[in-house]
Symmetry: C2
Subunit: 474 residues, 2 copies
């Protein structure tokens, strides 16, 4: 820390509470709408996931008398706000269908969940404009915290969705709760003492729980600071502070000194997922489906599916013989085979029964994967992209009639360079709402309202219309 | 991890759920009674602390409709069990008056708080015998986790009370909740994803909050596992697991393979505090008060107070001009001066007003501190002692009449080698109860019952008699 600079937790508080038009401008605010709408969508879908069922068992057993003002997507009754934040964010990551920011994880869902729950903790209604601003500063701080913690932090085994995410949710919740600069400074220090989450738990249902912990712990830090709990103002950048302990000697605090220049949500930008699978599958599946459509192919026409990705681009796709839908999200063989067989990839593609279909298993045996240095990311330090999202991928199909057809994709649909249009967003929103057991018409009305979020006076009034249509979802 | 050994989380689950008489023997159980009784005492005292006030503001603002079965010391109404665990353990560490295990922190309070709250989450009452057994296995696992994380973990800046503590509270809560081995194995993995707590926050009210987080997070991990949340069974000892990330290459998993041989609560044993200050002050103050009594001295008789401690034995006593009671707990000058002036050191000694008394400030200027290698701990690797608790200290008083008197202390009153007797425990219990605003007679009856804890059929029935006598404590 330079002696002429304020401690980072103080600087972050000043930024998070800022309201200068230059910071929260109209353009910045519009950037926040798609990830917010997308996050609501995946929270709705999560209701019908294994995590959704576990969360209901947990509430039933651990919180039998719980009541409070916190909105949760699957419940008519309100819950205590910290519990609502936990459950909404947990649901939103349950299907691995939420957006991803290279290097910093899945930040939008915990940011939205913490902000909504903070709004429910206040007396006055939360307006759409307030929500957008809080989301934007929280997302920015989380993204830059991820970059500041550095590559070593992620490589060593921490899950940035929750570690970096928690610092951002503190900002989002603190802004909405009306903390002053001193209290928000203290909240960052409290939050720094709750930063945890092991990559070792990837592939288990603790992974989506991490998103819930990011939302709950940031909100709790803000509420505790509001109640007068103190912390050390050097808890982010001091000796034995967050960057010191978790940055492993390679922390880059400068990322937290240069906020919104540009907004991380603009550059590198967050990628919205078209498919409920690991983001590394997005480009290969886009390329395959483009070939399938362009050449009017069926599975029977294809002798072999060849995929080439940048060096290390297959790293997260660890399952080659997936047994469950959760495994299959991390199986490149499965996503390519299922996309070719079905002409698409949706939530139903990752139900356990779908994964064991004999025709798809047969197709999987005809997938050939390779890595190719020539397809490398343009960003070798992987701060703004990764081998799974930088560079480009090539899919080549060898057809039974002897032809070979090929497609190259650098930017998958939903990424900052190929963003969803309104129809794409609406399609995903409605698919998620149906999957989660929500009634069609209120969901469509909520989507329309959320697309004009800045005109909404009371966000809660929009969300409350989202009622489960299916019995069994409380 | 050796290939012929089960994953540590599975081995810990088997140990935590064991009921072999050789493990939970009568002697082991008796060892648990003093720290349990002492922990209840400090939880009661914490009610009247700054943390107690903050906790009530937090509950009021963040949990306005909260209700549940969880007992908390200062409240007539029950709270949700996770919140009760948080608040009880937070209160118990609020005054830095709870016991300390060299190398692994302040483990008894979070263990007790998590166990009590887990009992409240069940239908059947929690018996004293069950509480003792759960406390014992939780304490043991936490203590050995602290040793397994190693010296580097603590030196780097993690607060073992919460990092190691969380693994232990998971065991204590899981045993009481009746988890089977698979569920408790999963619970350890979930808990490993919530291990955090920065020493940077020492000296702020986030430090006692860490104890609360240890209790809440361990209980939550057990409840989440009970609801079916899965985790990786190598989350403790696998690559990118707890020991790998937090042990900084120096983890010693063997400590978690050799549980209860001996019980950590027996050797090195946990030190109960006679004074509500940093444990490094215990021996110097004992020595000074012994001299004061033996020679019938008053402050006016003393020209100079000389203290010699082992190398690094002054390390935690960071405040030389304390301004608040919280500072003063970490000021060697203050504790010696106040003890000489008052003939003792109690909770009132650390109220803010007491710290600024001119007579005491004047005495502080006559304190001379030094470190002496010859007084070194017998345990140079500091796993079972520290410079603040190993070796011995020497206090020399230079009197105005020219005499010099000297006392040496190796083991302070309350330590395993000089344990509290029943009167000592009762004295501290009643002092804490009065300070916390609790009525005298029910407190004394509760003390008597807790001393015979194994005969108690329903622990809750004992604790519920503890009612605040003072208005303002809810």
């Amino acid at each position: 820390m330079s002696p002429d600079q304020p401690p980072l937790s103080r600087a972050l508080a000043a930024f998070a509470l800022g309201d200068e038009p230059a910071i929260l401008d109209r353009r910045g605010r519009r950037l926040a709408i798609p990830p917010i709408v997308d996050s609501v969508a995946v929270i709705l879908a999560g209701n019908a996931s294994e995590a959704g069922r576990a969360s209901r068992r947990y509430v039933h057993a651990a919180w039998p008398q719980a009541a409070g003002p916190g909105w949760t997507s699957g419940s008519d009754a309100g819950l205590p706000v910290e519990l609502a934040a936990l459950i909404n964010a947990w649901m939103g990551h349950a299907l691995d269908y939420d957006d991803a920011l290279p290097g910093s994880g899945h930040l939008s869902v915990p940011m939205l969940a913490a902000a909504l729950a903070a709004g429910d903790a206040r007396e006055q209604p939360l307006s759409g404009g307030e929500l957008v601003d809080a989301f934007l500063v929280g997302f920015e701080i989380a993204a830059k915290t991820g970059m500041a913690l550095g590559v070593a932090h992620y490589r060593r085994g921490w899950h940035t969705t929750v570690t970096a995410g928690t610092i951002g949710t503190t900002a989002a919740a603190g802004r909405i709760l009306g903390l002053d600069r001193d209290r928000l400074t203290a909240a960052f220090g409290i939050a720094a003492s709750s930063v945890a989450g092991l990559q070792r738990n990837f592939g288990t249902t603790t992974k989506p729980l991490h998103s819930g912990l990011a939302a709950r712990n940031g909100l709790a830090a803000a509420l505790l600071a509001l109640a007068g709990v103190s912390s050390d103002e050097l808890a982010i950048d001091g000796e034995r502070g967050l960057l010191d302990l978790y940055g492993l000697g390679e922390a880059r605090p400068e990322f937290l000194r240069t906020l919104h220049e540009p907004w991380a949500i603009e550059s590198p930008g967050t990628g919205l997922k078209l498919y409920p699978a690991c983001y590394a599958a997005a480009r290969p599946v886009d390329a395959l489906l483009a070939l399938r459509a362009r050449h009017a192919l069926h599975a029977d026409d294809v002798e072999e599916i060849r995929l080439a990705v940048p060096k290390n681009g297959l790293h997260p796709m660890i399952h080659h013989e997936p047994k469950t839908g959760l495994n299959a999200k991390f199986s490149m063989e499965y996503v390519l085979a299922a996309a070719l067989a079905d002409g698409g990839l949706d939530l139903a593609s990752f139900e356990d029964a779908a994964v064991s279909r004999p025709a798809v298993r047969e197709l999987m045996s005809r997938v050939r994967l390779s890595e190719d240095r020539a397809l490398r990311p343009e960003d070798p330090d992987a701060l703004r992209s990764s081998p799974a999202t930088g560079g480009r991928v090539v899919v080549e199909l060898v057809l039974r009639d002897g032809r070979r057809v090929e497609a190259t994709v650098a930017h998958p649909k939903g990424s900052p360079s190929a963003p969803f249009d309104r129809d794409d967003l609406e399609g995903k929103f409605m698919t998620c709402a149906r999957f989660g057991g929500f009634a069609e018409e209120p969901a469509r009305a909520a989507f329309d309202a959320l697309m004009e979020l800045e005109d909404v006076d009371d966000v809660r009034s929009v969300l409350q219309t989202l009622r489960p249509a299916t019995a069994g979802i409380r």
